[in-house]
Amino acid sequence: MLFAASQSVNPILPATGEVIWSVISFVVLMILFIRFVFPPVRKAMVDRSEKIRLDIEAAELARNEAESALAQYKAQLEEARREATRLLEEARATANGLREELVAQAERDAAAIVARAEDSLRGERDRVIAELRGLVGDLAVDLAERILEVEIDRLTVDPLIDRFVAEIASEEA
């Protein structure tokens, strides 16, 4: 017989044994629970919250750092770009100046060469003309003496020869 109505007859009245064992159960539970069993659970939960809080803070910090680094890189990139543009402009200006100077120098050199060539040509012509004058004079006097069989005074014909050579030179020019 499992059922034994031997304790309290009225089902609503408390049975002494049940009161005592439930008090013992609850009191022992509470002492062990509060002192030994609950703190580790609470600690795990608090530690987790703390870790999550720290992780979020660290993530926030890392993000801020990354953002500032990005901004810095962007600024540096912009600076580098400006610098490159400036260098390019400078190089272009230098190159232009150099080219103009070289062209001017070349022009000057060319003009000098031309002038020297002209000078030398002119000298040569004068020399040829002088030589020609002597040669033509001698030839003409010699020829005329032979044809006429008279001696011609060289000093009197020299002006004639000079005029003749000058005419030829002017015709040639």
Binding site: A4, A15, F26
Partner: protein, 255 residues
């Protein structure tokens, strides 16, 4: 034919014979064993959870932490505010002890909620009673505590002679009884309902002609078992919440 159903007398389904320590004051019966087991289960479950201490909780630890979170946020913060957080361990122990004692109602082969006995709920209610009065006296002093709990603020003096006895009755006399009887009554009723439908199902199964009707009480038994699980949680929650409200009120001195 239904008259042939042998419904056990109420004493038979509530009064259990002694298992140990004879039949004296320390007589240990099924109810006593269930309360001891409920305490042990609470301790073991929390000890396992605390020992695991994983960063990402799983299994038992997860279950326990959900319970602690629920008690912390839905009971303590709601009814006591942040200064009530020191009571979380006590209220957590109380909640799980009552919950497990309740759940034995639907555990196969045990099927007896320890809290269906006034001998279990009355001491619990009495302890809550002693605790909240003790907290009130300790945090406010006897005079101030009595004044804050008996004299509602902002009430005309003329009504006070009527109100003070009422407050005395409701705070210091009715509260512990209500706490004890609410839990006891709900679980006892559930226990008797389950027995009634179990007996009916069994009786119909035996009586061959009425076997066709058997699925009805059986379905009811299944539904009620689910419902009693819900009631177990609900009553543990109500008891713990009221304990929290009473202690919080005694701490704050508000009415």
């Amino acid at each position: 034919m239904l008259a042939a159903i042998n419904f056990p007398p109420i004493g038979e389904v509530l009064n259990w014979r002694s298992i140990a320590f004879g039949s004296g004051a320390f007589e240990l019966n099924k109810v006593g064993l269930i309360t001891l087991t409920a305490a042990l289960i609470t301790l073991v479950v929390f000890a396992i959870a605390g020992r695991q201490g994983r960063l990402v909780p799983r299994g038992v630890q997860n279950l326990v932490e959900i319970g602690v979170d629920f008690i912390t946020n839905s009971i303590v913060r709601e009814s006591m505010g942040p200064q009530g957080l020191v009571w979380v361990p006590w209220l957590t122990g109380l909640f799980f002890f009552i919950l497990i004692s309740n759940l034995f109602e639907v555990i196969p082969f045990i099927q007896m909620p320890a809290t269906a006995r006034i001998g279990v709920t009355a001491p619990l209610a009495l302890m809550v009673y002693v605790v909240f009065i003790g907290v009130g006296i300790r945090s406010q002093g006897l005079g101030k505590y009595l004044k804050s709990s008996l004299v509602p603020s902002g009430v005309p003096v003329a009504i006070l002679p009527l109100l003070i006895p009422l407050e005395l009755l409701s705070t210091f006399i009715v509260r512990p009884f209500a706490l004890a009887i609410r839990l006891f009554g709900n679980l006892l009723a559930g226990h008797l309902l389950l027995i009634a439908f179990a007996v009916l199902t069994e009786a119909l199964f035996v009586k061959s002609i009425l076997l066709v009707a058997d699925p009805l009480p059986f379905a009811m038994l299944v539904v009620l078992t689910g419902y009693e699980i819900f009631v177990s949680f609900l009553q543990a929650f109500i008891f713990t919440t009221l304990a929290a409200v009473y202690i919080g009120e005694a701490m704050a001195g508000e009415h």
